[in-house]
Amino acid sequence: MAPTPEEHPNKAAFLLRVRSALGRTEPIVHMPDHPSLKSNAMRQQEKVRTIVARNEARRSPTLDRLARTAAAASWNVRRAGDAEEAASIVAEIAQQSGVKNLVRSAEDVFKRVNIDTALRSVGVSPAILASGRSRSRGALRDMAFRADMGVTGVSYAIAETASCAVIPRKGVARLASLAPPRLILLIEPEQVLETLDDFFAVTRLNRMQARGRATNYFNFISGPSRTADIEQTLTIGVHGPGEVHMVILG
């Protein structure tokens, strides 16, 4: 791992001025009282266990809730009974949109949901958006910008806000869910959490357990890219995908 970057030379003086503006002369040594800061890994684990249990017990209403909030946030929501149906829904959407250039990420969900075969059967051949051996940074970027549809999985989906948490990693490029104008996200039932609180509690634990090797980056995708910057008129699809599909397994 790269060495930790150095401290900025102005830091000490800056903090000193802040401190004196607050009327203190000494730095604070004990962590201020803030409940969600103080909970250690063990307590956090306990908390997350409860969250997971609750989510398991309430899976079915939570999936319904996700479908509802997603529809309200302009997602096109489809629910699939099984993996096979999910794959054919993806193919159907691609066909309907007249897609030519489809990219997908390389992640586990595609081992279960074989979209490649389904897509080929409708004449679309998916490409995997990953760097591989021969692909440079620029080539990956070009490929992403050329595509007219992206398909990826999610790490979590949050029913409260219809937010899909996408965590880039090996096989999951950031641009796969961002650059193409159309996007399909595949969601598996056990990835769905009820609330934002659930999500951040789980994320905190994941970071603690990753011991400094956690990813520095993740995104919520909660609907189509939109703007109302001209005359307050809602327009869909600016820099990100304007057409967004959510395929929920279950």
Binding site: H8, V18, Q232
Partner: protein
């Protein structure tokens, strides 16, 4: 630093009032924001739980400010642990120098920017341009503003004062696109133009909606996707953050992400939230190789130092106080003369820039209190405005700046109000002086009183009653045979 034109408030607000097109846009947009916010809060939470969320958010932000040195240190350590760089800039000049240095070191030619109010404070675009580096705003509204060479009109809707025709001719001029009235088309033009920039840029600059101390995570809240582009496509990512942007724990974000979009645009959540705390991991497919977080003071210490004003730093820049302010609804953002407008602009501009230049701003409010009711972090804006007025009227020499007329008026009033007899004497004088101008109990014009002549331009001023209430009271009591103190005589 961006120029402070707040001394022009009166003139500029007059211009805005006479601009019909602008009045139309203001009415439309404000109504939309106000309605959307009320609806989503009612449907999702109801008043009571919304209120308790505001209380909790206010407490978290206030406590963070009270321990700001501690949390700044915590962020610094977290981000560096993630492999990012952290800087501390006292003012705009230092912050600009830091950004410029990063750019030059890396031979940067094009910079893409996603919305950052701090960068507006710094005027960083200008600095980059001077060095031959092209800065490109990527938020559609900001992009329009940049092409027009203006400053943002509203915190979250920077170009709301521009019509589609104006945008079309701006694009014609700068992007050589065909004229169109179709807003969708205009968005496509901008998207295509900006796509090229995204692909070419070596550096992305973003603001920060929240900075989480324990994890070093910067949270960006956007709708268009430009925030994601800025943090994904270029090789270097620089974050500019006011030093007050910190929340202690990652779990705090749940609360703030509920409050911010609902207060701002009436959305349940925005289309995108980006969370970034450092450079890409070696195994990542894409993403910036360098991550720099620049904390900026630039006058914020003046707010922090003053125990009353400190709470202004709780602001999460949602714009709700603007949207609900009767004054902002009429004059819009430019009259305030600096980066921040509306009620919160009136609060932070004088202490952050110059109390004398911005002396009109604390008075540019009816103190109606709506801002305080809608603020997601419960900033008591009217109280802060009154505090600033106190400084303008009676503060230290460097801050005080009233006119002789106001002092004369207050002096006279003061004399009268401590003593009923003096009051009645003055009132009698008032009756005498206004009589020539009074018709049917109304004063239509008071030419000799410059302080109130503006009032009588559009409203009648009630002429002093021929008899004071106290005198009527005495007379009535005399008839009823009661003693003036109210005790019936038996």
């Amino acid at each position: 630093m961006a120029e402070v034109k707040s001394a022009e408030f009166k003139k500029a607000s007059g211009r805005a009032l006479r601009d019909e097109k602008l009045q139309h846009a203001l009415e439309h947009v404000m109504e939309h924001f106000v309605g959307a916010r009320a609806n989503i809060i009612e449907s999702d939470f109801g008043d009571e739980s919304w209120e308790s969320m505001r209380t909790r958010a206010a407490a978290i932000k206030q406590s963070t400010l009270e321990h700001l040195d501690y949390y700044l240190d915590m962020v610094d350590k977290s981000v560096r642990r993630n492999g990012g760089h952290v800087y501390f800039a006292d003012d705009a000049a230092q912050a600009n120098a830091i950004v410029l240095d990063i750019a030059k070191r890396n031979g940067v030619k094009t910079v893409i920017k996603s919305k950052s109010m701090v960068s507006e404070e710094m005027g960083v675009n200008h600095i980059l341009e001077r060095e031959g580096i092209e800065p490109v705003e990527t938020d559609l509204g900001e992009y329009i503003i940049q092409l027009a060479g203006e400053t943002p009109f509203h915190i979250i809707a920077p170009a709301m004062h521009k019509t589609r025709q104006e945008v079309s001719s701006l694009f014609q001029e700068w992007l050589k696109t065909a004229p169109t009235q179709d807003i969708k088309r205009l968005c496509v033009y901008a998207r295509d133009a900006l796509r090229e920039k995204f692909a070419a840029a070596d550096m992305g600059i973003s603001g920060a909606n929240f900075v989480v101390a324990e994890t070093g995570t910067v949270c960006l809240v956007t709708n268009e996707g430009n925030g994601r582009m800025t943090t994904s496509a270029p090789r270097i990512h620089v974050v500019l953050a006011g030093m007050e942007k910190i929340v202690p724990a990652i779990e705090d974000l749940a609360l703030f992400l509920r409050l911010l979009p609902r207060s701002a645009t009436g959305q349940r959540i925005t289309s995108y939230n980006t969370f970034v705390g450092g450079p890409r991991a070696p195994s990542d497919e894409d993403g910036p190789e360098e991550f720099h977080l620049v904390f900026v003071d630039n006058g914020r210490l003046n707010l922090l130092r003053d125990e009353v004003m400190r709470e202004a730093l709780r602001c999460i820049r949602c714009g709700a106080c603007l949207n609900h302010c009767p004054v902002y609804q009429k004059i819009g953002g430019h009259a305030y003369g600096w980066v921040y407008s509306g009620p919160i602009g009136a609060v932070v501009t004088p202490p952050m820039t110059n109390m004398k230049v911005a002396r009109d701003l604390p008075y540019a409010s009816t103190l109606c209190g709506t801002c305080k009711d809608v603020c997601p972090v419960k900033i008591d804006i009217p109280r802060l405005l009154l505090h600033l007025r106190h400084k303008v009227a009676e503060g230290a020499l460097g801050e005080r700046s009233t006119t002789w007329m106001e002092r004369l008026f207050v002096g006279q009033w003061h004399g009268a109000m401590r003593n009923r007899r003096a009051l009645e004497g003055k009132a009698n004088l008032g009756r005498l002086l206004t009589r020539p101008f009074a018709r049917g109990g109304k004063v239509r014009k008071l030419p000799f009183a410059p302080m109130v002549s503006g009032w009588t331009a559009s409203r009648d001023f009630p002429a002093p009653a021929p008899k004071s209430f106290a005198r009527l009271w005495r007379e009535e009591l005399a008839q009823d045979n009661v003693h003036p103190n109210g005790m019936e005589q038996r």
